[in-house]
């Protein structure tokens, strides 16, 4: 007996790698649409800055609140800065921001490509001797892969600022030792591994979003379904791959 979820699961995985393969195959081929790439980078990057800033600020603040009271019990409150910084850089920034981007941009890609599919605009591209993956998916995927790590750098900084604000202003920690402890145990590897994660999550968000859009069927309802599933699927894939990436990267 095959479990009922196996078939759709394998179908989605197969489609993911089909789209990914086509993106890789088309990327080196001209014409290079730099303007579209830039446009997508602005949409994924600049437009997402406020929400990413807000989220990481509060994540950093909550981390400080939580760890301070915990570490105080073992008289180690001096290490709050270390813990906040490492958690943000290695784990929380990439994962939380990527989940947000899945909700903001993955869904938009699913809806946009889905609408183009059901209104035959994707067929029209093919008929006009243009590969839809080349024209639509390639710029979206690379824009997300490049932009998400940039957002994460921003999120890392703001998260650490959030922790600092709570620890120093609210708990009255010493600002100099706090900053010292923040950076004393942090390696470049901690930052880069977070950025590698972000790039992989960016790839997942964009490919899944485009894949759900590209294979949309069934009118307006189908577009709605694709949009929702793009977010759900990308989020699950992010959380699962996060486990394996963490395992590989440390």
């Amino acid at each position: 007996m095959r479990p009922a979820f196996l078939e759709p699961f394998l179908l989605e995985v197969g489609r993911f790698f089909q789209i990914l393969g086509r993106v890789l195959a088309w990327t080196p081929r001209p014409p290079y649409d730099w303007r579209e790439l830039l446009r997508q980078m602005l949409r994924v990057g600049v437009d997402s800055v406020p929400v990413v800033l807000l989220t990481s600020l509060f994540t950093g603040m909550v981390m400080a609140l939580q760890t301070f009271s915990t570490l105080k019990r073992v008289n180690a409150e001096g290490f709050v800065g270390t813990l906040v910084a490492l958690s943000m850089v290695r784990e929380l920034s990439p994962v939380i921001s990527s989940l947000l981007i899945a909700g903001r941009c993955g869904s938009a890609m699913g809806a946009e490509l889905g609408t183009m599919r059901v209104t035959e605009q994707i067929d029209a591209l093919e008929v006009l001797a243009t590969d839809p993956v080349h024209y639509l998916v390639v710029p979206r995927v690379w824009a997300t892969v490049v932009t998400l790590p940039m957002l994460i750098v921003l999120a890392d900084v703001i998260g650490i600022v959030g922790g600092y604000l709570i620890s120093v202003l609210y708990f009255g920690a010493n600002p100099v030792t706090y900053m010292e402890n923040t950076f004393r145990f942090m390696d470049a590897d901690d930052v880069t591994s977070g950025l590698i994660k972000a790039a992989v999550f960016g790839l997942i968000v964009a490919v899944v979003g485009c894949q759900k859009g590209y294979f949309t069927r069934g009118g307006a309802e189908g577009v709605g379904r694709s949009t929702t599933r793009a977010v759900v699927l990308a989020s699950i894939a992010i959380l699962i791959s996060d486990f394996f990436l963490t395992k590989i990267l440390y």
Partner: protein, 255 residues
């Protein structure tokens, strides 16, 4: 409309079958479209007329059978080769399928830019195409600002931009009022004759079919059950054809 000496076959379908999740849409279908002719494929709603058209241009690949265009078997082409091969076609979609993020001008210019035409030639050709579909002055409108008939005409302009030798029209006048319908039909005839191309039109509208067709075909249960010039088609002694032509509620088509 001279059909005396049979011209060479432009599109040849042999034994084309296609099913979608178990439902048979095309069933070992044979059809020859002759060069320079205008063929109209008739059939009820949901009989797979669009699916047939999409097979001709390789948007859908058959489960079985072969499709030859200019003697080239589509199944033998790789995806990349097929993409280039499609320059021989111009296809107009049901609702126009205009790129809704682009103006009318950019929509028509799209295939020209992709074919790397230089700026001046693109401008010249776009104006000429819009003139051919009688839409001068709409260049800077967005698709959402256009009426259904206008959208389809922009779709035509985009389809003919690269002067294709084969024109495919997917339900070009469904859902339009009778006057606009007649205008669209006239335009199809005009474009096909002016460009001396082969045309395949899908419709379930008989008036349109008579206006456009050099040959009419009836699609029923996945096969072409009748194929003849309009005058002969009208007289065919086939219950299915007669039911369709008279629009009768009961008969072999509806059983």
């Amino acid at each position: 409309m001279a059909l005396a000496a049979t011209p060479p076959v432009k599109i040849r379908l042999r034994g084309v079958s296609k099913s979608f999740s178990g439902k048979v849409v095309l069933d070992a279908l044979d059809l020859d479209v002759f060069e320079g002719e205008s063929v109209v494929v008739l059939g009820g709603s949901g009989t797979g007329k669009s699916v047939l058209l999409k097979h001709m241009i390789g948007l859908i690949r058959p489960d079985a059978g072969t499709i030859e265009v200019d003697g080239v078997e589509l199944g033998s082409l790789s995806n990349l080769e097929l993409t280039g091969f499609r320059r021989r076609f111009g296809m107009a979609f049901q609702e126009g399928a205009l790129f809704d993020s682009m103006t009318v001008w950019d929509n028509v210019a799209f295939p020209l830019r992709r074919a790397k035409w230089d700026r001046a030639r693109v401008a010249e050709r776009v104006s000429a195409c819009l003139e051919m579909v009688h839409l001068e002055g709409a260049e800077h409108k967005m698709p959402s600002e256009l009426s259904g008939g206008m959208r389809r005409r922009v779709g035509f302009a985009r389809a003919i931009a690269l002067e294709p030798k084969i024109l495919l029209f997917d339900e070009p006048n469904t859902g339009l009022d009778p006057v606009i319908k007649a205008v669209i039909d006239e335009l199809i005839v005009e474009l096909q004759e002016k460009m001396n191309s082969t045309a395949v039109t899908i419709t379930h509208d008989l008036n349109s079919a008579y206006r456009i067709a050099d040959r009419m075909a009836l699609l029923f249960r996945g096969k072409i059950v009748a194929y003849a010039p309009p005058e002969e088609f009208r007289e065919l002694d086939d219950a299915r054809v007669q039911q369709f032509l008279r629009g009768l509620p009961s008969g072999p088509l509806s059983d």
